[in-house]
């Protein structure tokens, strides 16, 4: 899967780097001074590179914990995100990462200890209060777990910080790492869903809805708190039927009483990211759809967006209490 690994020269003896190299003994190792030399050059095509991304092992020297965007929260007052990885194993047509980065290579920041130190510092700025830390903003939290060992390191660290709430956001079924340890009160494993038909068309390489639900069920039985993320909600001529069926499938599998949260948000992208996505996928039907640009964001035409969210909210109300539902309105 990984044929080339780029490694910052200062990290060649780092224990995580050594371990990953041992995992990919046939990969070609290429040293660079800083990961930006490989990741940031202008002359790169995300779409072409996505067919065969490489792995970049890097150090994140600063900006490790960031304020979460408005509307990202699932309750509580303080929301931050941290990205131990940039980019994702999957290839979702709507993903904003394609608009944000020029490269599709996976960047793994291996200085976990520095991330954790910054998380503790951030937590200390809100004494006695709950603080949310989201890990799946610039990547899928779990998809590359066999390589990153993210959970192996971070979960025991969060176990000692009851006021630090961690959200793992994923479309992956890589839950073995979670299942081998006790469930934690301050960790939510949140799975993103679109209807299977939409997923098959737009979420390339993503496990089927049913496989993800099976993984969720295993976690729920093991006592893990779960989240559902219907974000982005995608329009099609028969979106009502598609989402009705999706919700029925989801809530027939999971025990609602044990759910932590459900969030919902319509497809939306910053204008510049949208332009980049159209350039990368000019013939993608999603981007040719009933969209409008307002205030620097591209989203569904207002009446349609409202109708879709209202419909989904009403449908969800058949299964979950209102208190569990969190709308994601980034444009707000």
């Amino acid at each position: 899967m990984i044929d080339h690994i780029y490694i910052e020269s200062g990290l060649r003896e780092h224990p995580r780097v050594v371990e990953i190299k041992q995992r990919y003994t046939s990969a070609t190792i290429v040293e660079c001074d800083r990961y930006g030399e490989v990741f940031n050059p202008k002359a790169q095509n995300f779409r072409l590179q996505k067919s065969r991304p490489a792995l970049i092992l890097a150090d994140k020297p600063r900006g490790r914990v960031q304020q979460a965007p408005a509307g990202y929260g699932i309750g509580g007052d303080h929301h931050y995100y941290f990205s131990h990885m940039l980019n994702c194993l999957y290839d979702c047509r709507y993903c904003f990462l394609q608009g944000m980065y020029r490269s599709a290579h996976y960047v793994l920041f291996v200085n976990y200890e520095d991330f954790m130190r910054d998380i503790r510092t951030t937590l200390a700025a809100h004494p006695g209060e709950d603080v949310w830390f989201y890990s799946g903003y610039d990547c899928d939290s779990l998809a590359l777990e066999p390589v990153s060992r993210f959970c192996d390191y971070f979960l025991p660290e969060f176990a000692g910080l009851p006021h630090a709430k961690l959200e793992l956001r994923t479309k992956s079924t890589q839950v073995r790492g979670l299942l081998k340890q006790p469930a934690m009160d301050n960790v939510v494993v949140a799975f993103s869903f679109t209807p299977q038909e939409v997923s098959a068309a737009l979420e390339h390489k993503v496990p089927s809805v049913q496989k993800r639900l099976d993984a969720m069920l295993q976690l729920q039985r093991a006592g893990w708190q779960l989240g559902l993320r219907f974000d982005p909600v995608i329009y099609s001529d028969n979106f009502k039927q598609q989402y009705r069926e999706l919700f029925a499938q989801v809530f027939a599998t999971l025990d609602v009483a044990l759910l932590h949260s459900v969030s919902i948000g319509a497809f939306r992208l910053p204008k510049q990211f949208f332009k980049t996505l159209v350039r990368l996928h000019p013939h993608e039907a999603l981007f040719a759809g009933p969209l409008r640009e307002e205030g620097g964001m591209v989203s569904y035409q207002q009446s349609l967006g409202t109708e879709m969210i209202d419909f989904c909210t009403e449908e969800l109300a058949r299964y979950i209490p209102q208190a569990l539902l969190f709308p994601c309105d980034y444009a707000a």
Partner: protein, 270 residues
Amino acid sequence: MSINLVVALMPEAKPLISHFDLAAVNTRSPLPVFQRDGIRLIVSGIGAAAAAAATGYLFAQQQQRDLAWLNVGVAGHGCLAIGEGRLIHKISEHNSGRNWFPPQTLKLGVASDALNSVSRIERRYAQPQFYDMEAAAYYATACRFSSGELVQCFKIVSDNPSHPVDAVNADTARTLIGAQMKSLDRVVTALSALSDTAIKAVTEPAALDACLSRWSFTVTQQNQLYRLLQRLEILEPAPANKAPDLGHCQSATAVLAALNRQVNQLFVQP
């Protein structure tokens, strides 16, 4: 197939010209250029300035973005055996200290290595990597016209610490490159296929030229027109997609308004 080959010397070019059956393009050209069926080869001469000039010259002949580019040549190496061929995954320019990392997206099983572009013939081979005099300038120039995935180098070891560069001659270069033609053919085929993918992604809407020739659009309006026609083609694919009925439109603004209406009518409101 569409690819540009940049080669420093004629003895290196000859096996490629022969293999791909290329013919000289124009005897008055300041640089020798050969081509057939979308494959173009230019003989640049030795050194960074020559490589950059040849790459720019070839682009100017075509004015086509996202073409595939391949620099082929013999080079010194710190440890590899004579005749070994490699794609290049890292190019360092000795004089400036700059590095480039051509993305390795071709699924060929061809090994890759690092390369140091130097301004004088390398005789010390201090590092276990290739040494040449053109790749950095070629790569930096070609990346102005194409994405890095489409700009690659393939080098073949002609000299190393046990076989000094002084023993390399025209016959050696020709023989070494000829011996790697199987790998080179695969690289050329895969790279040009990747380029085709990139170029096809920006196919113009069928009705664009007709609209541009009939009405006068500003640059902004041209962009809007392009995207509206593209959306129509996506949302209403052939055979349902008829040429938009715009005959009644008196101006570019009216055309855009009519197309907008036509696009919006395609959506079934819930």
